[in-house]
């Protein structure tokens, strides 16, 4: 039972990291139809800025320092995302393939610049000592950092939901995902919603970047790779443009992957791809996705 809980919660923790990447991808795709390959660079930018903040704040990183690093890293990634959207994406209005291509270019350039500055080896990320302890959950000893991943993901899910549900811009975003042309026809400027979505997606990815660098024991320009791909898988399984769908799919994939890996090493990735193929065959629009007209 202990191992069962341990693997389950570790899986949910991993799923939380996937969700942080996938939520932005899903909204950006749902609203604008942009396949954002630069999302991995948002994650890396957030991770490096977070690292910079955490090392500046003194030799002993406290919990407050870490939270601050997460927020600043998220903000930096959000602003970077906003810049990319303004400089490149908006100029390729409705040329979806070209938009995807440009984001591929961005991810290459960001990777090259960060790689040139910091090298491609892992650099230790300073974490609070509490992260190294274990928390007793139902008899299982859970590494404390997993709890932080889950809490952050849940917090962002709630914030996301509240924003989409209760604010005007959230209403425009939801309407835009549903039918962008109609929102445009009603005379509402969707452009601001685009920028908001890019900023929010970048923010979540940046926060995710800080957590991913804790999970992978350090920062490097290469940490984003597998998370971006898992992010895409989560978005496809959860349904494009659906944030709750992403959350559900992320948790599902995290847990299934962890359990498969526990029984046979390396089986996890394989099972996830089989799951993806299965979902595509049975429900091509994803778990909570809507059928496109």
């Amino acid at each position: 039972m202990d191992t069962f809980i341990l693997i389950g919660i570790t899986g949910i923790g991993l799923g939380a990291l996937y969700f942080l990447v996938a939520s932005g991808l899903s909204l950006i795709y749902g609203l604008m139809g942009v396949l954002n390959f630069a999302h991995g660079s948002f994650l890396t930018v957030g991770a490096f800025v977070g690292y910079w903040v955490a090392t500046r704040l003194g030799p002993e990183t406290t919990m407050t320092d870490f939270i601050l690093a997460m927020i600043v890293g998220g903000l930096a990634a959000g602003l970077f995302a906003l810049m990319i959207e303004q400089l490149l994406i908006t100029r390729l209005y409705d040329r979806h393939i070209d938009q995807a291509l440009v984001t591929v270019g961005v991810s290459l350039v960001v990777g090259a610049v960060l790689g040139g500055w910091f090298g491609n080896d892992l650099i230790m990320f300073p974490t609070p000592l509490w992260f190294l302890t274990a928390v007793n959950v139902g008899g299982a000893m859970i590494p404390a950092d997993r709890i932080v991943y889950i809490a952050t993901a849940v917090l962002l899910l709630i914030a996301n939901w509240a924003l989409l549900k209760f604010t005007r811009i959230g209403l425009i975003i939801r309407a835009g995902v549903e039918n962008r042309n109609m929102v445009n026809a009603l005379g509402i400027n969707v452009r601001r919603a685009f920028s908001t979505v890019f900023f929010l997606g970048g923010f979540a990815a940046g926060v995710g970047g800080v957590l991913v660098s804790v999970y992978s024991n350090g920062v490097s320009p290469l940490i984003a790779g597998s998370y971006l791909i898992y992010g895409f898988i989560v978005v496809v399984i959860g349904g494009m443009g659906s944030v709750p769908g992403s959350f559900l799919a992320a948790m599902l994939i995290g847990v299934i992957r962890q359990f498969a890996n526990y029984y046979v090493t390396g089986l996890g990735d394989f099972v996830v791809v089989i799951l993806l193929a299965g979902v595509l065959l049975i429900r091509p629009q994803g778990l909570l996705g809507k059928v496109r007209a």
């Binding site: 100029r91 995807a100 440009v102 270019g105 290459l108 090259a112 040139g116 791809v273 595509l280």
Partner: protein
């Protein structure tokens, strides 16, 4: 499509020159170093062409093309190393296996379209990379890959003095790929591919099975990539997980966009340029004069991805059609001037 009327004699002359050059040891091309670099560049050029068939001609943005290439590399290497079949049969089996895999993956992922298709192919391609890296049954050698056992392939492919044979093999593979793609794209199926790219609904209205034609394009492209995988195995001398990475497909995409899609020679040129530039950039940045550039600029420049990425963004934003597109635009202008 606008054609260059002098292209055929000039192309033939260029090919003869490229084929004969390694014979003269006094020329730069007589040296094994450049021969090896160009052999690899030719393979990338051919691979970019197979990607152009998907992306340029059929309008399918696949991010998993590396899967079929890597299948060719690994299947042929495993068959040869374990002495299961002779090298030429291994090459054929590897090519067919890539085609079969392309048919299976294509059948599942072509249920989606556009951007979703891109994501799904990416996921399948990445699964291939993971499987290769995990070293199941001790077959793929994990992260280190497997070295080709030189005893089981013809001796003219082995050793530095014989680099010119690798060069010729790669050139031959490029020519074969070019001829096949040329034949496919000019055939009636090729017309349907182009029509699918331009207006899928219209093709459907004409009563054609769009899925079948897309799958055909996907399988042809994957099969050719598998064959080139065997040639890469000969040129590189080993099968490594880097051939299965998604960055391979992204590199192919860059090559096609930089060279210009749908012109065939554009993709080949883009591939050769990209491969050549990445290799040479690394040599260039090792030189003494480069050390004088401050670290914060010099570091990023030393990564070939920076310059290639910037060129790529520039072409997508401001010069769609890449090198070959720019060439045709210039010619169009010249023609218009002549006739006005």
């Amino acid at each position: 499509m606008l054609r260059w009327k002098y292209s055929r004699p000039l192309l033939a002359a260029l090919l003869v020159a490229l084929a004969l050059a390694p014979m003269f040891t006094s020329l730069p091309l007589g040296k094994p170093g450049l021969q090896q670099t160009l052999a690899v560049a030719f393979i990338w050029g051919a691979l970019a062409l197979t990607y152009d068939l998907l992306f340029g001609f059929t309008g399918l943005l696949s991010f998993g093309h590396a899967l079929y290439f890597a299948t060719g590399v690994y299947v042929s290497c495993i068959l040869i190393n374990h002495e299961i079949v002779s090298w030429w049969l291994a090459a054929i089996i590897a090519t067919v296996a890539s085609g079969v895999l392309a048919a299976l993956v294509g059948a599942a992922s072509l249920r989606t379209t556009g951007i979703t298709f891109a994501m799904v192919t990416l996921a399948f391609g990445e699964a291939g990379h993971v499987i290769v890296g995990r070293n199941f049954f001790n077959l793929t050698g994990g992260e280190n890959g497997i070295a080709l056992n030189a005893d089981f392939v013809p001796q003219f492919w082995i050793g530095v003095v014989n680099t010119k044979y690798i060069y010729w093999t790669a050139l031959l593979a490029l020519i074969i790929t070019y001829l096949v793609i040329w034949w496919v794209t000019e055939s009636s199926a090729g017309r349907v591919f182009a029509a699918l790219r331009d207006n899928e609904q219209r093709v459907q209205v004409l009563g054609l099975d769009t899925q079948k034609f897309k799958l055909l394009s996907f399988v042809i492209s994957g099969t050719l990539a598998g064959m080139l995988g065997f040639v890469m195995l000969i040129a590189a001398g080993s099968a490594a997980p880097r051939f299965a990475e998604s960055s391979v497909t992204i590199a192919l995409l860059l090559m096609v966009v930089i060279g210009g899609a749908v012109t065939r020679w554009g993709a080949v040129l883009g591939g050769i340029f990209y491969s050549f530039a990445s290799t040479r950039m690394q040599d260039l940045t090792q030189q003494e004069s480069f050390k004088s550039i401050p670290e914060w600029i010099g570091g990023p420049i030393a990564e070939p991805a920076l310059l290639l990425g910037l060129i790529f963004i520039f072409i997508v934003m401001f010069a769609p059609g890449g090198l070959s597109g720019a060439y045709y635009r210039l010619r169009m202008k010249a023609l218009a001037r002549k006739h006005s």
